[in-house]
Amino acid sequence: MSIRSRWKEFRLGIKPTLDELKFTLRRIRRSPLSIVGMVLIGFFVAIAIFAPILAPPTDPHDPFSIFHDGYGPTPRPPGSPVEDSYVRDLGWTTHYFGTAEGQLDIYYGCIWGTQTAFRIGLLVVAVSLAVGLLTGCLAGYYGGVIDEILMRFTDIVLAFPGLILAMALVIALPPAWSIDFGFVGLAIVIFLALIFIGRSKKLQGIWTFMLAVLGFAAFGTLYTWVLGTPPIWVQTLNLGNLDKVLIALALVGWPSYTRVIRGEILRVRHEDYVEAARAVGCSDFRIVVRHILPNAIYSVVIIASLDIGAIVLTAAALSFLGIGAPVGYADWGQMISFARNWIWAGIENPWQYWYTFTIPGLFIFVFVLGWNLLGDAFRDILDPTLRRR
């Protein structure tokens, strides 16, 4: 088969997908709110990417620590000149957004805080989504015991208001954690292998899971027993405050994804085309991947995009409560928390220190607004009832 005919084949195959994409883009263009959302997110992406140019780090090893311009307690308004000669030599001449208590530069914090916000939002959502997809698929497609166990567990986690459970977890997480990467990796490998190899329905469900768990439990025990020391792939992780926040939010976040995905799968799995696929002899894995997920994933995408905003809000709230990022770290929530004292301080002229809390707050608000607008627009655009006709 010649390359040209292959290319033709490929083009034919990709055309309907492109048409779909065009259709979607046309819908996006018609909805002004989604354009606003996209522009806002694009704006923040640009800030995050160009942060090293917009705000050259004063400490190349740790760009996320906001630079000091002396240690004076009183904030200074936007436009104040930089006094510290070391910083000035690096090209900083003015404090564009002013300084906070301790002469921390607000502009620098806001710019690098964008990266922090993306990191928190995307990372937490990605991890929750991955775990949610796996567990949701298991629960939704196989049902039975595994479903019951997972659902009860999600019930329990969801019984706590997210912020409060995250709060407890953040203070509970130890500063250092030893993680057995070999263990985790092996678990995933065995699990996936069994799912791929296992043809019979029984093997793929709860048994795979149990076998996998038993498998590495045995392996780990054997290893430690024979060698007497933990293997090299057991690594101790030092958890910074922000890492703890990430872990806590992911731990709190995944059950809602499990729920949604399970619900979607239950909705789709009784459709005729899934039954038809079974009648044709498709394996369970193929049914899930080819038939169920493509039809179930859209509502998950919508929720994920809304969730990025919500996650950033929760992380900021944790910072505000003083259990998130440490003082001086480029994080919007932390900056407001730090500035809190200055609204109480300026009783005579309340707006004297407005920049300390207004500017970082605006960053959070606009960032979250962008994701929410985008999610809302997705909801309208991807609505399957509107789409197919």
Binding site: F153, L313, G322
Partner: protein, 348 residues
């Protein structure tokens, strides 16, 4: 399946969740060092010096099962530990701080639900017209605002700027009367009602004035969810055959909307309202902190991070347990109400 069976089933289903909630809290305790865990078993400041004894007494260095049985029997006796930041046993502190929080919640939740459903209906009825656009824009903005920042901005504008509505729970005069005069008697713990019962309506007024901003904060951040659900379920209901059929009967538009569409649209909204009520403690934690209201939320916030370098573990865990139990019970109530409104559930 009848309503009674449904309720019994719900209650039975609630039990494993409650047990799970307790278990999860216990699992979190296992992340702490034995020294921190020990504070969960003491009841007074004096015992703080006996930590090593307590570690031994409650097997805190031993097997998880042993620890659990000790801990659980303590919890069943109502001992959740000693809160350093609250200055007393956790349960007592919680009871002391609950009224302030409750007072905030019983104002904000009904306002949120009533206003939210009303706006949702208006938004759906005037779909793609000005009221709809305004409502949706305002709600999405409310949904995107960080609670604490909104609170701070409200204080900056309405207190620092305009001087209309002050933060905190009471003004200085009322504070003096309540805590220092010796004439004050607690009836319910809710200052608005106690003010009237004490024959001091000015205290009630003062408290109400202080509650305007925190309530506004809570309503603003929560109302978006209700509006969104009410709007979409109302739109769905308005597209149903029975709405057309009701119009064909010759009913007025108002009758069709208020009688036929609204009742059906309320069914999904109720679930969300329940979730909101159960989750209100999240917002309360931040709001109380910002407005300096001495309730459960601020206590937990201070315990977790504000009170120094070492967190007050029993306070945070006690608060989390409380929140979990509130959630489970609220959910039960909502489920039962749900069954009451929707005959399809009530009658099987």
């Amino acid at each position: 399946m009848g309503l009674r069976e449904f309720v019994i089933r719900r209650i039975l289903l609630m039990i494993p969740t409650l047990i799970g909630v307790v278990l999860l809290i216990f699992a979190v305790t296992q992340l702490f060092t034995p020294g921190q865990r020990a504070t969960l078993y003491i009841t007074s400041e004096k015992q703080m010096s006996r930590i090593p004894d307590i570690i031994r007494q409650y097997h805190l260095n031993e097997s998880v099962l042993l620890q659990f049985s000790d801990w659980f029997s303590q919890v069943l006796q109502g001992n959740l530990g000693y809160s350093r930041t609250g200055g007393g046993p956790v349960l007592q502190v919680m009871l002391r701080k609950l009224p302030a929080t409750f007072e905030l919640v019983i104002w904000s939740i009904p306002i949120t639900i009533l206003l939210g459903t009303y706006l949702g209906i208006q938004s759906a009825v005037h779909r793609d017209q000005l009221p709809d656009h305004v409502t949706r824009t305002v709600s999405i903005i409310g949904y995107s605002l960080p609670t604490f920042w909104l609170g701070i901005m409200l204080i900056a504008i309405f207190f620092s700027g305009l001087g209309w509505f002050p933060p905190e729970r009471t003004g200085a005069q009322a504070f003096n009367y309540i805590y220092l005069s010796g004439h004050w008697r607690y009836y319910t713990g809710l200052l608005t009602i106690d003010g009237l019962l004490n024959g001091q309506p000015w205290i009630s007024l003062d408290v109400l004035k202080h509650m305007v901003l925190p309530t506004a904060t809570l309503v603003t951040i929560q109302i978006a969810l209700i509006i969104r659900v009410m709007r979409s379920s109302m739109l769905e209901a308005l597209g149903k055959g029975y709405v057309t059929a009701a119009k064909a009967k010759g009913l007025t538009n108002t009758q069709v909307i208020n009688k036929h569409a609204r009742r059906n649209a309320l069914i999904p909204t109720m679930t969300v309202a329940g979730l909101l009520t159960a989750g209100v403690l999240t917002g309360v934690t931040i709001t109380e902190t910002v407005f300096n209201i001495d309730g459960l939320g601020r206590w937990a916030a201070v315990a977790a991070g504000g009170g120094g370098t070492v967190p007050d573990v029993p306070a945070v865990l006690g608060f989390a347990l409380f929140a979990g139990i509130v959630y489970v019970i609220t959910n039960l109530i909502v489920d039962v109400l749900y069954a009451y409104i929707d005959p399809r559930i009530r009658l099987g």
